[in-house]
Symmetry: D2
Subunit: 424 residues, 4 copies
């Protein structure tokens, strides 16, 4: 029995899907201890937008260590943090006219969401938060109440209150979905919020993903998203975009909502913001809301991550690099062209996505699992998401070489077809 | 206006106490961008037990990066994780006969506590958790309900239910404390739990710190701690030790409870476990409890932190180094001898602590703040904790050179006396 | 200042609408201390289905008192209770093939609802209850969580959890209502309940009124009601009909749901069940659900109300009296014919109802209030209900003489027209 | 099978203890359908302070019915209510200088408590209520959260939040009680409330019984009660006395707290206030608190109970009758003298009480049950209360003839001795 079987918790998951020991990794390839190579269409669950051991980041981190740069600083000022913040303001916020303040907290997505909920509740004096079916926001009790998946919710051990869920307004409804995802449903929700005898409480916040990644790569319809934003404004609710998985470039632009004119009050970022997989989380909060924080009221030991600031600063450089952003668009197009035709080939299959995040909904969890396993055997890492794990999610590093992207797609398509044909 | 004033959230705290920009740091010294040096008695809030840029850790991290080791892996197996787990089992668990499983989650203390609460609630089918006055356990809603400080609690924006608080059994009661901290109070609590008409619900867990660090360096009386453990057992409650701040060697042994025969069901670790300030958190869970997890039920993106495993493995080596552990004892003794006499010199002052964590309770927040500020001006970083910030907390790196330790204590004592004498 | 102004709570309400002191009352007429008479279209909020001081009931109560019958017995057996139960079983339950057990509790509607929720939650092991917008179920915290009106909810002082609200399926939507009240909305709700990632929890119960009386006389569409029942069954939820205001004959049959084939698991009764205004409440609970109660687990001092059993037994006799039931139908028809044409006369007016409960929705609260006040001056008691008090509710005693009914309707129509014409 | 076995809910309780059908009752005697007589030391759970079918009340009720007095009026003004309120103000409030307003609500104790909690929470803007171990306050969710008995609490089906429980300050601790019931415990509670890091929230209210009747006839120590009142004042909490079971004369004065100088902000009354067992409940609320109610915010169909006002007015006359009040004192003394010596005779027995409420604590539920059963066979109705039903509670009507009182005590003592001697 190896150490993992002897001593690691039963809660472990991905290692059961990929039962090898990884040793090294570069850009979109991981290598196990036996020397087997795997193309990575998973990117650390959307963290490694610029690949494993990204050369620029790695070198910057090594240099930071060699020069004894501060690695851990809570919310003290450091030079590394200063550089990151200045760069973020200049490259990301200023060009968009975003006046938002930057709040650092415990460096995980769920910490960011919890902080956002706190300040939204304070800003409104309300408790109830509106979240959306199939949304994912984290595992700690405040975020978990917003997360919709019952597997996670059932582990809470206490009731998850002060959050209600409405149908998410998908660009196209999932296969066989009847949950009322369109504008009509939002209109009815509005009427209920405005009626003093509906039993609904005025919301403190709308917490929304523009693309529900964990939830099955459900892309929000832009009209619906705008209407949701308008409704939040009308109700005096804080509009929070959880851009943790699809922000930081995943859709081909820094924010997933760029160009949508939805002007979020709070944006939650984590995952990719720290660059190379060392943790970092950050909320962008409009100044008039942020001003309601009292100093030290929301803390967290690991708020000041030197290496994440250093690598994250390198990540920001990509968003000034037009050539690179064009490459991302080409990759995105290549992916779409490769998988979109599957919808014609398989009746009970749906392809959804945008930029470099794509989901192939194969209807149920079983074939999805078979495809994931077959791909792994052929040297491709993909994972399943969505209700019952029925959606194959493709999120390769944005920096993936075209050859790896093509090879990965080939492996995927080959195995998907085999499984799907065996199904029918 | 600098970038911090322009763009950082109003919630920022420590940077207001130490209003400089830190650039580099080595062991127990930090240097700001103007070249000023500071002796560090804060150690990143108890994270940097082996100092800033610890040579062994730094080199191992650089080597890991240079060899393209996996930096981020969720809960996949990696070589770095394997090494860490094997070493932890061999050096820490096996010698103590601890059969516990190791669970990795989001790499912050609060994530660890939330995971512990979930599995404790599942294991017992109960909801109510018993936490203790002056305890600190984190900022996310599940942990925050256990945290006692009203400043943090008031930021929640929703009621914090399913947790009740009892008086903590201090070795010596805080100055003027009348909260009922002794064994009598525990005996009464027992009687109430055993009476079916007390209104108290059977607890899922006791969540306890052996030394409440944030809460003011309150050291639990050993007899009381054992009695609390016995009561938990009697009531069928899971006994959880939150060793996040005082574990990993702070008290002169790996766990703060070593030698106390309290056999916790779950131990929460974070802060120091990742070695050099890159985040890592880990729960140690008895196998029969851990077995209740279903795979993937509690997740977190940043569960697999390559650099933290690498640096954390180096940290473990210190616990095989008897010479080093002796040095820690000498440091501890030096600290105690330096500050203990203050109790004789100042009536309204109390010294509490153990190993290399000491608190000087000066009665109220004002003089404490004055002392912290004066020390900072003289090149010493200390912070205040406890109700109203009335306790000066001393937690230098275990690796601090004796000269730095002495110099730091000199600065502290000098300024403390000046402030305290001005007070009276 | 009279005693009411001096000493009665500011919470008092109806006495502000009808600012006189009532002295005596017979059937559908009340007389104040100055000898002024009022026709009663309010019937004690739906309690006095058989009129004030109903001759049969009054005599039976006097006889009970004169013979020293037990007036108060908790849940001991008494002769009066035996008679009531035997009669209820024979006249109401057996002809309908209803196997339900009879549970007596604190004699108010809210006590009945609280008891129903408890046993439904036990029977399912679930917490969440589905209630409906515009529903009214009582003032104590468990019932209040199901009540939808924000005026009542805002008085709770604590969050009202464990209940969610869906749109109610009206026969015809209220004026300008856009809340999604039809079958489509129920279908979407079903899809959300069946999706494991919707964020909705499986419900313990559906709590439903067939006609929302306080909520504005909203009559459920029969197809919708049946579909709601089917959905409850499919989800394993207990189907509870709150028949407190519209049961006991109000709709022309004993239960409001007679003939609808919805077979409720639990029926809550109160108001009219005690006959002449002395309190009584009773739940009818299917035996397999009722069997889950442990003796004495839900109590209440005033469970055994001798005078209410005596008067309530008399009330039951009416349901064996075909002639009387025909009279009720004639009254119902007379009411409908009188007020239905108002819909043609006034654009922004809607008439809703069934049997002897009718609501005239005049769109907003102001004209409704003016009508109520004008009617009172002319000697007719009516009240306003619904969101903002915009619906004039007509619930005369079933036993009202035809002449009183006509006179009352005349007063109502005259004043309504004056007010509505002044509005436009 | 009789109708009760066929059709009554399994929740029924007292009828299992007294398995006969009662027919008539006069003062302190009940007669079953077979003509067997029982002396009543239970008085309808403390409702019938002036006996079954009290002649004055009965005649007044009959007259009210015969003259067609209003029986049911919600919160409209009626002559019967006017008389009751005027008399209550004159006889009870004015002599005590109590400025309180009278609030009527649903006519059960739990409705009164729920209303009191609502207005206390509004008045303070706080949520948490402090209740006491072994207290009983009702069955609906708001009151039930304050009730301490786990049998009742476990039936809730949802968590009972926003209430914490402290040890009750008994005059003498129950047998073997170790719950920390004295002033020390209250002092520690105070210290915890005043410490901002105790984890306790500032309370909206203290909800307290001066004698916990259901809880086992635990009589509060006067010094402790006063200290509790002082602490409530110091913390800005509303001080609510639940006088539902021991008010209305039970202790020999109208309020149980007369002469104690505790000046409650709110007093909850029910049970005896309606005189002869027809329901009535009333809160007395200080005007400045009552002024926070908005009209109609807390309602209840059965707020206006004509027969209860009529009988309740008769009850008030007794409190102007010095001769009667002397008689009550003699009864009280007779009871005390009869049972007090039992403490000397049986080691594991404790006698507690005051006025005409006495409890004999026999240590566990079994002997108590045996005594209750044996007494019933001998024609005496007594019931058991307290944790596990270990306390025989004696609450005969205040109007009981001395001969009945003596006969009842004889039966009790005889059977108690037999059972207790068999035990040892």
């Amino acid at each position: 029995m190896n150490i993992f079987e002897q001593r690691e918790s039963e809660v472990r998951g991905y290692c059961r899907v990929y039962p090898v020991i990884f040793d090294t990794a570069v850009n979109a390839r991981q290598t196990d201890v036996d020397g087997n190579e795997y193309i990575d269409f998973f990117a650390g669950a959307g963290v490694l937008n610029f690949g494993h051991n990204n050369e620029h980041m790695k070198n910057a981190m090594i240099e930071h260590l060699q020069s004894n740069g501060v690695t851990h600083s809570l919310d003290m000022h450091t030079k590394a943090k200063q550089t990151f913040m200045e760069r973020f303001a200049r490259i990301i916020l200023e060009p968009r006219g975003m006046p938002h303040k930057m709040q650092f907290m415990g460096p995980t997505g769920t910490n960011a969401v919890e902080a956002a909920l706190k300040i939204a509740r304070r800003a409104t004096g309300r408790k109830e938060v509106l979240a959306f079916s199939r949304g994912f926001h984290g595992m700690t009790l405040g975020s978990l109440a917003c997360t919709s998946n019952s597997i996670f919710r059932n582990a809470a051990g206490v009731p998850l209150n002060h959050v209600s869920h409405a149908a998410f307004g998908c660009e196209k409804p999932c296969l066989g979905c009847d949950m009322g995802c369109g504008l009509d449903s939002l209109k009815a929700l509005r009427a209920r919020y405005l009626d003093s005898s509906s039993g609904l409480e005025a919301p403190a916040a709308f917490l929304i993903e523009t693309i529900q990644a964990e939830g099955g790569v459900n892309v929000a319809d832009r009209t619906w998203l705008k209407a949701a934003r308008d409704l939040a404004r009308e109700l005096g609710a804080i509009f929070i975009v959880d851009d943790i998985q699809v922000g930081c470039g995943r859709t081909g632009s820094y924010f997933s909502f760029d160009g949508m004119d939805i002007d979020p009050d709070i944006v939650c970022l984590a995952k990719g913001v720290g660059g190379m997989g060392t943790p970092l989380a950050m909320n962008l909060v409009k100044p008039e809301i942020d001003a309601l924080w009292k100093p030290g009221e929301h803390t967290g030991t690991f708020r000041g991550q030197g290496l994440s600031f250093v690598a994250g600063s390198e990540a920001l450089a990509y968003f000034e690099n037009d050539e690179f952003m064009d490459l991302v668009k080409q990759h995105a197009s290549l992916m779409e062209k490769a998988i979109k035709p599957l919808e014609q080939q398989f009746k009970r299959l749906q392809v959804r996505g945008q930029g470099m995040i794509w989901g192939i909904d194969v209807g149920t969890g079983e074939p999805a699992k078979a495809i994931v396993n077959a791909c792994f055997k052929d040297g491709l890492l993909v994972s399943a998401c969505g209700s019952g794990g029925r959606v194959i999610k493709l999120i390769p590093p944005l920096t993936i070489p075209e050859s790896d992207l093509k090879e990965g797609l080939d492996i995927l398509l080959r195995n998907l077809k085999t499984v799907m044909e065996a199904q029918s």
